[in-house]
């Protein structure tokens, strides 16, 4: 399991290749990439700054990946999340899950992302034509995370 918080961009192909390297048991790799949109709440976004809680962020994501590994039979997982100032089209987050079959890989990847959105301490501040504003948490993100509890 690898968790990295960094300001630098990441190379998806290189990261997936590194995760798969030499592991002959892997039959499925699922990945999710979150990117910066140029619009939010109806306003054009020109820039966004991500703040985090150093130390707790890493622990929170490691705990989430640990829960995914306990729930699904997956071989490895990688989470990279950027902080600092980003612009539309920039990559923000990468989640990669490798397993024997696609079912576990897809489910674990979505679970990690849904839990990260509601439990990992990151905060976005965006710049629009109206100035700077903190992004408000969405109720739909809580609902997305909650449904994994119901699935058992």
């Amino acid at each position: 399991m690898t968790v990295r918080i960094q300001t630098a961009d990441f190379d998806v192909g290189a990261e997936i290749a590194a995760l798969r390297r030499g592991n002959r048991k892997i039959g499925a790799v699922a990945s999710f990439i979150g990117t910066v949109r140029d619009v939010n709440e109806g306003d054009a976004v020109t820039e966004m700054t991500l703040e985090h809680y150093p130390g707790m962020t890493e622990k929170a994501i490691e705990d989430i990946v640990g829960q995914a590994r306990a729930r699904w039979d997956i071989y490895d997982a990688l989470v990279i999340h950027r902080v600092g100032t980003l612009r539309p089209t920039d990559q923000i987050v990468l989640v990669v899950v490798a397993g024997g079959h696609r079912g576990e890989a897809f489910a674990a990847c979505e679970f990690i992302m849904d839990y990260l959105k509601t439990r990992a301490p990151f905060w976005k501040k965006e710049r629009t034509g109206k100035g700077l504003r903190w992004v408000e948490a969405r109720e739909t993100d809580d609902i997305a995370a909650e449904r994994w509890r119901l699935k058992g």
Binding site: G34, L50, E51, H52, Y53, G55, M56, K59, A60, H81, I92, V93, M113, L116, K117, T118, R119, A120, P121, F122, W123, K124, K125, W134, V135, E136, A137
Partner: protein, 84 residues
């Protein structure tokens, strides 16, 4: 002493990212600490009053109001998270 950290909107409106607090004998859990800070008034009341949507962590783990607090702990207050 405990260390209290503030993040994102709270850090900006409270005008500081961290402080050291000597715990009064009556403050033994997170809810009591939050009430103590809100009693400072102004932005403190606005951000930390009981009905505000604030999340908290004790020693870098998400914690609820009845979570105990003791000398040497690291406590953090912050808005609901918006990463990903």
């Amino acid at each position: 002493m405990i260390t209290v950290l503030y993040f994102a909107r709270l850090r900006e409106s409270l005008g500081q990212g961290s402080e050291q607090i000597a715990l009064p004998a009556t403050v033994r859990n997170l809810e009591a600490l939050r009430a103590l800070l809100a009693a400072r008034g102004g932005a403190w009341r606005d951000e930390l009053a009981h009905d505000k949507r604030v999340r908290a962590a004790v020693n870098q783990a998400i914690a609820g109001g009845d979570s105990p607090i003791a000398d040497g702990d690291e406590v953090a207050f912050f808005p609901p998270v918006t990463g990903g």
